[in-house]
């Protein structure tokens, strides 16, 4: 990110209170045959305006962890707090963007989709509509406000989902591999747009991905999780690395370092 933003976002972490804190969280879920431990005593904190990425191979419980922050499942051990309140269920203060395109309500127009969560939560009709249009303009979908979701491409659907989440002005935006089902070109464009939005609005983001490169580009801090069950392997800073630095030495060094952590020193071809 730019130098100016770094200088601005420089206060000492010791004096600030975290927005979200995950303390010693162990998560388990049931399958018909087993009780699976998804994460084991995971702890990390998320500060205001941070772009925290949960990175790990499949099966490290990163999505489960995100769902726990969203409130869809309760830790069997440990606690998750948002603004000092224990997270006990899903709510509009933690809007979530899912990987699947069917997260939009097919029976509502694009604009109505974005306005709906606000209407549910008591925002007036006029204001909800106005905020919806504003959010859609931010993701460059002004032309499609009256379209229905089935008329949109995958990338556009994800943009609507992002607009819907952002229009709610949640305390934290949760994104569960939102670009995993997109083609590579669209994905890159969407990552760029997300960073642009972050510069415009400055939301707090928790982003789950299994792509090291995406983690470094999108994140300001990366939590690397080990697989089966997920434990925190490292917390790394990458706030200085974005799209512009993709070819830089630092970028390559960091992605290498992360891949060594994930693959336990096995050599992998680049």
């Amino acid at each position: 990110m730019s130098q100016a933003l770094d200088a601005q976002a420089a206060p000492d972490a010791q004096t600030l209170k975290p927005l979200v804190s995950v303390e010693g969280v162990t998560l388990q879920y049931k399958t018909p045959d087993h009780l699976v431990t998804a994460t084991y005593r995971v702890s990390f904190e998320i500060f205001q305006r941070e772009r925290l990425v949960l990175l790990g191979p499949s099966g490290c419980g990163k999505s489960t962890l995100l769902k726990a922050i969203a409130g869809f499942l309760q830790p069997v051990e440990g606690v998750i707090t948002l603004k000092d309140r224990v997270v006990s269920g899903p709510g509009p203060d933690r809007m979530m963007v899912f990987q699947e395109f069917d997260q939009l309500l097919p029976w509502k127009s694009v604009c109505a989709n974005v306005a709906y969560p606000m209407l549910v939560n008591g925002v007036g009709k006029a204001e909800a509509n106005e905020r919806a249009l504003e959010a859609l303009a931010k993701v460059n979908l002004t032309k499609f406000v009256d379209a229905f979701p089935h008329m949109l491409s995958g990338g556009m659907k994800q943009r609507v989902a992002i607009a819907r989440a952002m229009a709610m002005k949640p305390d934290v935006l949760l994104m569960d591999e939102p670009y995993a089902a997109l083609d590579a070109l669209t994905r890159r464009k969407m990552q760029d747009e997300l960073l642009q939005l972050w510069e415009d609005i400055g939301f707090t983001l928790v982003f789950v991905t299994h792509s090291i490169e995406e983690a470094v580009v999108v994140g300001s801090r990366v939590v690397v999780l080990s697989p089966h069950p997920g434990q925190v392997r490292a917390e790394l800073n990458c706030h200085e690395l974005g799209f512009g630095q993709r070819d830089s030495v630092e970028f390559g060094r960091l992605t290498n370092r992360i891949s060594h952590m994930l693959f336990d020193g096995q050599s992998i071809a680049h």
């Binding site: 769902k67 969203a70 869809f72 899903p90 709510g91 509009p92 933690r94 809007m95 979530m96 899912f98 699947e100 069917d102 997260q103 309500l105 097919p106 029976w107 709906y116 969560p117 549910v120 939560n121 229905f148 979701p149 089935h150 008329m151």
Partner: protein, 295 residues
Amino acid sequence: MMNASPRMTPPVRPEIEFDVTPPAELGDVAKPLSMLEKLTENTAVRRGLILVVIALVWEAYGRWLNSPLTFPTFLDTLEALRDGIASGVIPQRLSVTLQTLVVGYFIGLIVAAVLTTVAVTSRIGTDLLSTFTAMFNPLPAIALLPLALLWFGLGRPSLIFVIVHSVLWAVALNMHSGFLSVSETLRMAGRTFGLKGLRFVFGILIPAAFPAILAGLKIGWAFAWRTLIAAELVFGVSSGQGGLGWYIFENRNTLDTAAVFAGLLTVMAVGLLVEAVIFRIIEAKTVRRWGMQRG
């Protein structure tokens, strides 16, 4: 003989770049369909054509058979239908039947909605619904008629009872399987908006399951219509007001076969009208507009 070894490398060919013609200079990229193509694309035209063919075959067979008592021709039937409508008998009988039907149908829908809502909000409700549908769905509504007569007497309440029975289970079964097939993502999205309980059912589950619910409504309608006509045939007249089924029965007794056919034709016409007009409009405004079902 192509005797290449499996490891043969493909030839390295020179690279080429082309200049692409701008789309504007290509002329028409989309071209309008011809009249015939437009006509064959139209569902109403295609279905109308099928009806015409059926009518022609019917007329031809009727004339060849030449036995008005067992199989009147299409034109004779039309004439009987016209007479029936002109004398006001068919419209009056139809309105009696439809009134009973609408009352029974809507009571059935409401009970089905309540049962299904209970079923999706609690586990014991699910068990209750599954057991009930498994028990009662296979039971033909008409088989309950003797019992209904015993309980409610000879009249409209008995008819409504059997209609409710025939609608309820089919609709509840479809609604419930529709609710179960709503994707986990959509459910989670609804819950992050803060939707719970009945608001969740009305805000997410019902619209998301609408294709299945609509299918249930259609099946329920067909069941109700069928059951009612059959029930009327068995004991049509109640307090001097018979329905369409009674009309058919009456005319069979007087061996006016053309009028029997006219009655049957009316039954089919109403069924077709509801299916092809009312349900089609609902479909066009909902599931097809939402891209949940292809047109």
